[in-house]
């Protein structure tokens, strides 16, 4: 080894080249932002924007006081919302399990054909929000709870499938090897080596998705897919702002309760 004979007078965190790259990157981001801003606001009517605070105050004053007598009418839609979320989650999870096993590198029967298909199903389901699924399904099978349930289920496949296949890929290979060594068949290896390892993840993911689905199912009614969102849409259409307040408070309450339940259940499982 050669001795270090001189010390640089200035000390820098990065090499000059890396710094140049970094600055260029930031500059490009700023330029991109400005360009995007220009494009986006090209058709914005600024008079409306400057008028917004007055509009906000106007809406705010109309929303108060909430019309609490409207509450009893909301109970049945709320029950529908819960059913959409719960049944949709169950159906979604049931469909997601085989997809996850096809998508996981260590369990997929064919990495060339079935795995890419499973991954595409997952991406397609994840990319499309449940509201868009609902929009489509209402057009296809008509308005109602069923469209909501199917929309929630279709959106859940991707979420549950992705997290579950990652959990399957993270299983301990030694435990699986040990089960294989006993002469177990492929299905037995699945049920003794892999399933017990992913069970906590499975329940955690399902409950987590149920919690998200409660939130999402509250608004599906906006496009006609049943639940409390229908009432929201109806109230907005007739500008019944005091009713809107009641509905929003009820949605908030439901979301808080479902979050609490899901956190409780997840803690009990893990």
């Amino acid at each position: 080894m050669t001795e270090i004979t001189h010390y640089s007078q200035t000390w820098a965190h990065r090499t000059p080249k890396a710094r140049l790259f970094l600055w260029a990157g930031w500059a490009a981001l700023v330029a991109l932002f400005v360009w995007c801003w220009q494009l986006m606001t090209a058709n914005t009517i600024w008079a409306f924007v400057w008028d917004a605070p007055r509009q906000a105050a106007d809406i705010g004053s109309r929303m108060m006081p909430p019309r609490l007598s409207y509450l009893p009418e909301l109970l049945v839609p709320l029950w529908d919302t819960l059913n959409i979320a719960t049944l949709g989650t169950i159906a979604g999870v049931i469909m997601a399990v085989p997809v996850a096993f096809l998508a996981a590198r260590n369990t997929t029967p064919s990495a060339r054909i079935l795995r890419p298909i499973a991954l595409f199903i997952i991406v397609a389901s994840r990319s499309i929000n449940s509201l868009i699924w609902a929009l489509l399904l209402v057009a296809i099978i008509g308005p109602g709870i069923l469209a909501g349930i199917v929309a929630i289920a279709l959106r859940s496949i991707g979420f549950v499938g992705k997290l579950l296949y990652e959990a399957i890929e993270e299983t301990d290979a030694r435990q699986i090897e040990a089960v294989e060594a006993t002469g177990a068949s492929a299905t037995q290896v699945l049920s003794y080596g892999i399933v017990p390892q992913i069970m906590p993840a499975f329940w955690g993911i399902s409950v987590f998705r149920w919690d998200i689905n409660i939130r999402e199912s509250t608004i599906l009614g906006l496009v006609g897919a049943g639940g409390i969102g229908l009432k929201l849409q109806a109230s907005l259409n007739v500008l019944a702002w005091p009713q809107v307040t009641v509905i929003l408070l009820l949605i908030l309450g439901t979301v808080v309760v479902s979050e609490w339940v899901s956190a409780k259940v997840r803690r009990a499982i893990i």
């Binding site: 991109l32 509009q55 057009a139 709870i145």
Partner: protein, 268 residues
């Protein structure tokens, strides 16, 4: 010992609910709920059978998407969505950083902590769609309302995760920096920033992806973007155009996902 002394049957003991009565009550409860819930679904089979034909047309539209006949609308919607996504993510991240620092109990005084945490709570509790409805009512139709919606939602998401991250930083490193007599700003710069920065970048990229997906939705209530185009296409029963739009959305999400994982690797 003789053979007879060992039991010949064994049952797996219940793992979660160990009390027999509770288990039974739980099982019956679940069953009753399922019966009631499934019973509450009202299906108009006539309507469904008419719909199946439409469903078939939609699947066909998805398999043979029509990119050309509505390309002008699709292009405009896409530009709105993409610009909205980028600007709202940048603005959202810029606002999230101070709020995230303010919501970290180990850095901020109590009153700032409570203010920042309540901003986060409000942003997280409200659905993007509901926020969009109000912002459209205030700011008028168009991507500007969408931009505000997504920025606001980004704050709730990023500031929370950032604050939780800062609260979990290695206290030993912060202690070491504090011991040199560093000021609060120096502490943030030397002890907090290096530990949190990689995750902040990762989360921002992830949020970019989410914002794009959300931008496709809020158009339904009038906040601009590709969602508005999609809504129109479905309203007009133009399933081949709708299929094209959905495929574009899926494609962009896929590109964003691969791109962001590549970018994250590159930055580390």
């Amino acid at each position: 010992m003789s053979d007879q002394s060992y039991p010949t049957t064994w049952r797996r003991p219940p793992q979660i609910v160990t009390n027999r009565r509770w288990r039974l009550a739980l099982q019956i409860g679940i069953l009753v709920y399922l019966v009631l819930a499934v019973g509450s679904i009202e299906v108009d089979w006539e309507r469904v059978s008419i719909g199946l034909e439409r469903g078939q047309r939609f699947v066909m539209g998805f398999l043979q998407p029509d990119f050309t006949s509505r390309w002008g609308d699709i292009y405009r919607g896409l530009i709105e969505s993409l610009t909205m996504t980028l600007t709202s993510t940048v603005v959202g991240v810029l606002i999230s950083v101070p709020i995230g620092i303010g919501a970290a109990s180990n850095l901020a005084p109590a009153w700032i902590y409570y203010i920042c945490r309540s901003i986060i709570a409000v942003s997280r509790a409200l659905q993007e769609i509901i926020i969009a409805i109000f912002l459209v009512a205030m700011f008028g139709f168009g991507p500007f309302a969408g931009f505000l919606t997504l920025s606001f939602a980004t704050i709730g998401f990023l500031a929370k995760l950032l604050a939780d991250d800062i609260e979990e930083i290695d206290e030993a490193q912060a202690e070491a920096v504090r011991a040199t007599g560093a000021s609060w700003w120096q502490l943030v710069n030397y002890a907090v920033q290096p530990q949190v920065m990689p995750r902040l970048i990762g989360l921002s990229l992830y949020r970019l992806d989410i914002n794009f997906r959300e931008s496709a939705v809020i158009g339904i209530v009038g906040a601009g973007g590709i969602g508005a185009t999609l809504n129109t296409a479905i309203d007009r029963y133009e399933y081949d155009s709708a299929g094209a739009i959905l495929l574009i959305i899926i494609g962009i999400v896929m590109v964003a996902e691969y791109g962001s994982s590549y970018l994250r690797k590159f930055l580390q």
